[in-house]
């Protein structure tokens, strides 16, 4: 089994190599596209077969480790290249390869005719390769390998259309902002190794098991890993790269910047849930950051006009929801929302791609309108996605979001709950603003644009994702409806964390009536938001410039400008005008050249003594003698 399992990463790697080296020569879209897709489909099937392997085992021993080779070995420091398959990583494998496969197929249609077709697919395969390392690794350093690898792919794919000016900026920004997070990740690893002598995750979680709650060391490690997570999963203060990342081709936005890579931070924390259970202070920080990010980006989304930007801010906001779940120690809810979000957000991104494709690269929803009749499949599937994210039952988003709302209410209290609830209302509002402006009302685009439905390679993935967005929620039904498959499935992964949490939180009595009330409240809030939003925007055809707070929102609270003014520019200006031009050139080099100049001047002067005239020498000699005599006389 171990031997065959390596194919799960070997095939995407092979796809990358074939396409990057020979893609251009082979010059066949069919070959490149389908080969890459196949090399993601097979890993998906391997994942399915592993699912059955795991199901065969009793729940508590559902943990398979495949050890391949020793990657780094220095003294006591040992890193094995090994994979861990457990219920958590398996779910992630299925999401990444499953949705990954659909998006590969979609891209065959979307990227048709692009010069860099083979290059695009090689990068997509490389991404799958790296992402699987991130998921499967049982060692922080191998996680980091995948973590940086997906960051690289993100960089490459955001900047895919390299001839455009802004793609380079966006790509670079994504990489650098992520590196700030990586700094936290690395420091966390240093602390882990210094104190536990290993970077193996299982060994680490094994050795912290006996620690007291809120030990400063554990809180610090937890917070540092979270810093890493804020980079990759776009949370305050590092989320600014994700909206810009939309400069990449839309399938990339769907796969990397919505469904999979950006959930890496959530996965990392879920993977180390015991650490966060033992560090409730860190969890509280996560909760606060999650809430703040969710609200901040949801409000920005209210006023955006670029269809992809709306979805991007929505993604940031939804990731915030997942962190809220993590912050309230509801790990299953976080992963559940991760999965449903992957379905409906990938769906909507691909839908937006279909719209952009049909509208000849137009992304401004103010210049759309009435597309529902021209692009039926896109419209219906997009609508399903919007309903799902808004939290209307029985669509997928309802169940996962409801679970988060419920857990927030129970574990964090009424105020956090209300904040999350309001954000959920915003979510429904901006989504149906998008729906209203894009698909309803009168056409507002130029007459020469003839919107058309996209080809089958694009619409079939939409349909599949739509089905998943409708049904995906049933894996995690609310407790009052009975059996929750997901809770049961994840039980062995999170049971240690749950036990610790039970130690310091009094067992909340499960009250069916509270759950029912909360469900109704959230349905009402979502419905009202949808109603108001749809009523307003499905008919709007005049647009005025935003004023006041609306303008602040449209300009994203001016955060990029603030970062530039407070961090980027000061560093650059100090480095250039002080460190370089003054300190390095004038002071250090000035000193060096000064010494050199001084000694050469000195020797020039002294050289004059050697005049070659006997008189001079005689005078000097005599004066010397006199000086010596004087010296001894007056000593």
């Amino acid at each position: 089994m171990q031997k065959y399992f390596i194919l799960i990463v070997a095939l995407p790697l092979l796809g990358f190599l074939i396409n990057i080296f020979f893609g251009k020569k082979i010059n066949s879209e069919k070959f490149s596209g389908w080969l890459s897709s196949l090399f993601v489909l097979i890993p998906f099937l391997i994942g399915i077969s592993m699912l059955f392997q795991l199901l065969k085992l009793p729940p508590e021993s559902r943990k398979i480790v495949f050890n391949y080779f020793n990657w780094i070995s220095v003294g006591n420091f040992n890193v094995d290249y090994s994979f861990l398959i457990d219920p958590l990583s398996l779910v992630m494998i299925l999401v990444v390869t499953g949705i990954g496969f659909l998006i590969h197929v979609y891209s065959i249609g979307y990227m048709h005719g692009d010069d860099g077709f083979a290059r695009f697919f090689s990068f997509l395969n490389l991404f799958i390769f790296a992402m699987l390392h991130l998921i499967l690794a049982d060692n922080f350093l191998v996680v980091f390998l995948g973590w940086e690898g997906v960051g690289l792919c993100s960089y490459l794919l955001i900047g895919f259309w390299y001839e455009k000016k802004f793609t380079g900026d966006a790509a670079k920004k994504a990489f650098i902002v992520n590196r700030i997070g990586d700094f936290g990740f690395m420091t966390a690893m240093f602390l882990v190794f210094a104190n536990f002598g290993t970077l193996n995750i299982s060994a680490f979680t094994g050795s912290i098991a006996g620690f007291a709650v809120n030990t400063p060391l554990l809180v610090t490690i937890a917070l540092l890993f979270f810093v890493g997570a804020t980079g990759k999963s776009a949370q305050i203060p590092l989320f600014v790269w994700l909206p810009d990342a939309m400069a990449g081709p839309t399938p990339v936005s769907a796969l990397i910047h919505a469904a999979t890579m950006v959930t890496a931070g959530i996965y990392l924390i879920a993977r180390t849930s015991l650490l966060y259970a033992l560090a409730p202070t860190a969890s509280t920080v996560i909760l606060i950051v999650g809430i703040a990010t969710a609200i901040l980006s949801a409000t920005i989304a209210l006023k955006q006009n670029d269809i992809k930007k709306i979805l991007a801010y929505s993604t940031v906001s939804q990731l915030g929801f997942m962190f809220i779940a993590l912050g309230t120690h509801s790990y299953v809810a976080a992963v559940f929302h991760l999965v449903t979000h992957a379905f409906f957000k990938a769906l909507m991104f691909l839908g937006s791609g279909s719209v952009i494709h049909g509208m000849h690269e137009e992304q401004d929803i103010r210049k759309m309108g009435g597309l529902k009749d021209k692009m039926k499949i896109t419209y219906i599937t997009f609508l399903i996605g919007a309903i799902a994210i808004s939290g209307i039952p029985p669509f997928a988003g309802f169940f996962s979001k409801d679970e988060i709302l419920y857990k927030t209410f129970i574990n964090a209290g009424i105020i956090p709950y209300l904040l999350v609830l309001i954000t959920a209302g915003f979510t429904a509002f901006y989504m149906f603003r998008l729906i209203g402006l894009t698909f309803f009302g009168k056409p507002r685009y130029d007459a020469h644009i003839h919107p058309h439905e996209s080809p089958g390679t694009m619409t079939i993935p939409l349909i599949i994702l739509a089905v998943l967005s409708v049904t995906g929620g049933f894996i995690g039904l609310p407790h009052l409806l009975g059996f929750n498959v997901l809770d049961h499935w994840f039980e062995p992964v999170f049971k240690n964390a749950e036990m610790v949490i039970k130690g310091y939180t009094p067992e909340a009595e499960h009250s069916a009536s509270v759950e029912i009330i909360l469900i109704f409240v959230s349905i009402i809030v979502a419905s009202v938001a949808i109603y108001i939003s749809f009523k307003k925007y499905s008919k709007q055809d005049k647009f005025t410039e935003e004023k006041g707070f609306g303008k602040v929102l449209e300009n994203k609270y001016y955060l990029d400008e603030i970062y530039d003014a407070t961090v980027v520019n000061p560093i650059y200006k100090t480095s250039e005008s002080f460190l370089w031009k003054i300190f390095d050139v004038k002071i250090i080099d000035g000193l060096v050249n000064g010494i050199a100049g001084f000694s050469s001047r000195l020797s020039l002067d002294w050289r004059k003594i050697q005049s070659g005239i006997i008189h001079d020498y005689a005078v000097l000699a005599v004066s010397g003698v006199i000086l010596i005599i004087l010296f001894f006389l007056f000593k």
Binding site: N76, L145, E148, T167, K172, I180, T187, F190
Partner: protein, 517 residues
């Protein structure tokens, strides 16, 4: 096999002489001959690698015979795992540098290749000498060919740059020489004879009064730190790099800087461990400043070569921190990082040279959008940049991570803050290299003259591919190389376990009378 070290040193040196008798116009012969000699040297070094016993940390292939009897100096050679890796790097870099010189070097071709081969032999000499005078002779000898390489084949400001380079390093060398002689004299009472054999000296240096040990350490170390170069002794480097011909920059960055860090391990630490430990805070602080400072200055450079030069200051700071941390992980990290820096920075200078050959400018603002016309070049340039940025899976990460990891827990450094501050450089290195990449490679082509640039040629590929192979190899399977230096690093650190480091740290710096024995 017994004389292989001598052969490695003197094959390039002796066989450089016939070049002077070749006909001046027979350019092909000169080039082919020089390349041939460097390739043979490379093959021999590979043979050395295969006959080297990595299971031992002792000096191997030792050759020792009396040399200058009057000062009891020996012709004494030997390699351990650390020097072996550096020798392999040297013999790899030279054929590459020779190929990279084929086109750019158009004048005084005979002299040029003659000097290159001399330089190669002398470098191998530096990395194998176990006698202080012998070491010093090779160390100083390096200056001569390098002085001419910059001074004759360099850019417009070459004279200023080469004199600056010469004087700067000469200053350090003079101190080194004083240090060598004085060490010999101070050890004499204990050893019974005046000796320059470092293996022998190392056993006696701790008997020297501590205040004198510290002075000796400083005399040795300052010369090495200038060579590294450590902040604030680095200002010769950007000038030398900018003016040097491509091959000169490659050799300078890949190999000459390593003489400094090698010296720190072999001599500063090997001979004066107590002083080494005592003065760690000073040097570690300078190294950390250099890491950040070099990175910040890289960001704002307008000239590609200067950018890479300042990035070297940053990267070399890592190596110094790793050495002074005195842990197994960090020291191994530093050794592998010496190789990594040689590969990555060497490759970066090659790339800058290729662009320069095409456009005769190195100013970043002159470029933009090259990826469109030079796709293969752009892809390879990106891989090397990523290696320098420290992306896991490529070589740079392995070294950097091991250094930081080891330094974090170092008893000698005493605090993890050096690591934490240094680690911020992972952010800055992404800033300066990706921004460079963006400004040169991405975006639309705005300048007409850039639209016709040729992609990388086969000859150019021949210089880059070998480096790339090792960049990926070390990143994916570093153990091949870590194993070579494993035992030698262990031996270097053997006498310095944590309790001893603690003890040495607490020794007071009061002058003591030398004990008679």
């Amino acid at each position: 096999m017994a004389n292989i070290l001598s052969i490695l040193i003197f094959l390039p040196i002796l066989f450089s002489i016939p070049i002077l008798f070749f006909k001046k116009d027979n350019v092909k012969l000169i080039k082919g001959y020089a390349l041939g000699i460097s390739l043979i040297t490379f093959v021999l070094s590979v043979a050395l690698y295969f006959s080297f016993n990595a299971g031992s940390g002792e000096y191997q292939f030792v050759q020792k015979m009396p040399w200058v009897k009057i000062i009891n100096s020996y012709y004494y050679l030997g390699v351990d795992g650390i020097s072996l890796l550096l020798i392999l790097l040297t013999t790899l870099i030279f054929p590459i540098s020779i190929i990279a010189s084929f086109n750019p070097i158009k004048i005084r071709i005979k002299e040029y290749y003659f000097l290159l081969l001399l330089l190669e032999g002398a470098l191998i000499g530096v990395f194998t000498s176990l006698d202080l005078v012998l070491f010093y002779v090779f160390w100083e000898f390096i200056l001569i060919p390098m002085y001419f390489l910059i001074g004759i084949w360099g850019g417009e400001e070459r004279i200023y740059a080469t004199v600056k380079f010469f004087l700067y390093t000469m200053f350090g060398s003079v101190l080194l020489l004083i240090g060598i002689i004085w060490t010999g004299l101070l050890v004499q009472p204990f050893a019974g004879v005046f000796t320059l054999d470092i293996v022998q000296i190392a056993t006696f240096t701790t008997y020297i009064p501590l205040d004198k040990q510290i002075i000796l350490f400083c005399l040795f170390t300052l010369g090495f730190l200038i060579k590294v170069p450590l902040f604030p002794f680095h200002t010769w480097l950007p000038d030398a790099h900018v003016q040097a011909p491509t091959a000169g920059s490659v050799i300078l960055a890949a190999l000459l800087l390593k003489m400094g860090t090698y010296g720190l391990i072999r001599f500063s630490l090997g001979l004066f461990p107590v002083a080494f430990i005592k003065l760690t805070p000073v040097i570690a602080v300078l190294a950390v400043i250099g890491i950040i400072y070099g990175a910040l200055l890289s960001i704002v450079q307008k000239d590609m070569k200067k950018l890479v030069a300042y990035s070297s200051v940053s990267h070399m700071g890592f190596i110094v921190i790793g050495i002074f941390a005195l842990t197994n992980e960090s020291m191994q990290g530093s050794v592998i990082q010496m190789i990594n820096h040689g590969l990555s920075t060497g490759a970066l200078f090659l790339f800058v040279g290729m662009i320069y050959e095409r456009r005769h400018t190195k100013l970043i603002a002159e470029f933009g959008g090259l990826r469109k016309v030079m796709p293969v070049f752009a892809a390879l340039f990106l891989v090397v940049s990523l290696s320098s940025i420290g992306l896991p899976g490529l070589n740079g990460f392995i070294g950097e991570f091991l250094i930081l990891l080891g330094a974090f827990n170092s008893v000698n450094l005493g605090t993890g803050w050096y690591t934490i501050v240094s680690a911020t450089a992972v952010i800055f290195s992404a800033v300066y290299l990706l921004w460079l990449y963006q400004r040169v490679m991405l975006g639309p082509i705005e300048k007409e003259e850039n639209k016709v640039l040729k992609d990388i040629t086969k000859a150019e590929l021949a210089t880059i591919i070998p480096l790339l192979i090792f960049i990926v190899w070390i990143g994916v399977y570093p153990n091949t190389f870590l194993r070579v230096s494993e035992m030698s690093v262990k031996k270097v650190l053997l006498n310095l376990d944590n309790t001893k480091i603690q003890m040495m740290k607490s020794i007071e710096t009061k002058p003591k009378e030398p004990e008679k024995n």
